[in-house]
Amino acid sequence: MTYTESEMMTVAAARALANEDICFVGIGLPSAACNLARLTHAPRLTLIYESGTIETRPTVLPLSIGDGELGETALTTVSVPEMFQYWLQGGRISVGFLGGAQVDRYGNLNSTVIGEYATPTVRLPGSGGATEIATSCQRIYIVMRHDSRAFVERLAFVTSLGHGVTGRERRKMGIGTAGPTLIVTDLCMMRPHEDTCEFQVVTMHPGVTRDQIRERTEWAVQFADRVGETPAPTSSELQALRDLYARTAAAHGAGTKVRQTGDRA
């Protein structure tokens, strides 16, 4: 079965989730990946959306973080203050999924501005839940399209902490959670080096070359000693994903396309 780069990215992100994970889900690609995991290999995966819905099991992807579908299919729905106080800050979430307009080699993320803060060239949506998701979840998975304007040497603004400007800031600040442990893109999977915390390529998707990854990364990207190939999506994974998108399109009506990327403005 042929597939797109975007489908490869969603499938690879979904595979990173396990039945025992408690996952804080963002809109867009993270939502597609989390629900694909639930519909394939991880049916007991627990999904939590920041609008307060706990153990939600949507049959279609929501357009917003608080669509009715999320509340109607949830085990319970709590207020937004309770969600951020007891559930996120309380340390009950194992995986947070984040994206952004820019990421650097240490997994720090920018979803605030491009250019100077006071006089931005592009005003992005801002933090939302991301700033505290980045430090309160046990680990963070980042999903972003691979592009040299997004995978940058230096962030215009740090919205959410990864491993800091030197790779060692989490320990210095006494932050006990792991931070970003995985970046999934449409080209490859990256994990932090165990000493430096700099993200390096660990698998490349089928057909992708090292030069393609270098061209689409602004920093001098490193490759692990042994780089494997990401297994291609299986026909059952692709079918489940395409069915999910088809149900979503039918539910949201013509002309409504659920974005597959993160919060790129």
Partner: protein, 272 residues
């Protein structure tokens, strides 16, 4: 005891130029009808407070109601940018817009502190983020017991909060169901408040743990059927996702936005 008022009267009595105003509703129950009435009454210089500004604040900012925005996520959910907000920030049109930017966790804690009558909120937040560098209202204190550094933000105490709910009873008690966001905190934190509802029923029959605002904490109850459209009201109507998608093209262009405002806000009466 809450008073039953028309939308026009409630807004003209409780919302004043220069006020700090919070219209809350986390994707669900967004009080669009009340926001449009504020635009029609041309109430200016407002400090608009809202976790997710959404289309309603994009419209109010574009219509010139706002001087300042306190927020934590300013996008069109699942669609893209808020173009009126961006034009105000990036180009100062129709007026420069001061922004005070937070994270969701900070805003949620700040509303809860406001409802509790506290001067500020403490939480484990903003660690390693640049937001404290650009927002002087984000500070750090040490826990007096453990020494742990904690973020502190001032409590949110709006002059007036406006929320939309499913129903109120004849006595003016209000029931909110579904995704309840920060509506209860916003109402309790504010000096004045307005609750618009889909309908009045003789008696509410809430479950034991339902979210109910007793009539003695509500100032004004306004009957505004459909008052949350194009967002949704659980049990009444679903989110009009196509409108959220269509807003992208309407709001991108200044003139098209102004025509939309004439037709859909100024050109409509408020006989709800």
């Amino acid at each position: 005891m809450s008073e039953r008022l028309s939308l026009t009267d409630a807004v003209s009595r409780f919302v004043r130029p220069g006020d700090q105003v919070a219209l809350e509703g986390f994707t669900h129950l967004i009080p669009f009808a009340a926001g449009h009435e504020i635009i029609r009454q041309q109430i200016r210089d407002l400090t608009l407070i809202r976790m997710t500004p959404d289309l309603i604040y994009d419209q109010m900012i574009g219509a010139g109601c706002a001087r300042k925005l306190i927020f934590s996520w300013g996008g069109n959910p699942g669609v893209g940018s808020l173009h009126r907000l961006r034009e105000a920030v990036e180009r100062g049109w129709p007026a420069p817009l001061e922004i005070e930017e937070h994270s969701h966790s900070a805003m949620a804690h700040a509303y809860a502190a406001g409802a509790a009558g506290m001067p500020c909120a403490f939480f484990r937040g903003y660690r390693g983020s640049d937001l404290p560098r650009v927002n002087p209202n984000i500070r750090f204190v040490s826990c007096p017991f453990t020494g742990e550094p904690l973020a502190a933000v001032p409590a949110l105490r709006p002059d007036v909060s406006i929320v939309h709910a499913q129903k109120a009873d004849e006595a003016g008690n209000v029931l909110v169901e579904g995704i309840i966001g920060v509506q209860k905190e916003a109402v309790l934190a504010a000096a004045r408040n307005i609750v618009t509802v889909e309908e009045i029923v003789e008696r509410l029959t809430p479950g034991t743990n339902a979210t109910v605002l007793p009539s003695w904490v509500v100032q004004a109850v306004v009957v505004a059927p459909g008052g949350a459209r194009p967002s949704y009201a659980h049990g009444y109507y679903v989110r009009d996702n196509a409108s959220y998608v269509a807003w992208d093209a309407i709001s991108r262009d200044r003139d098209r936005f102004l025509r939309w405002l004439d037709e859909h806000v100024h050109g409509t009466s408020v006989s709800r």
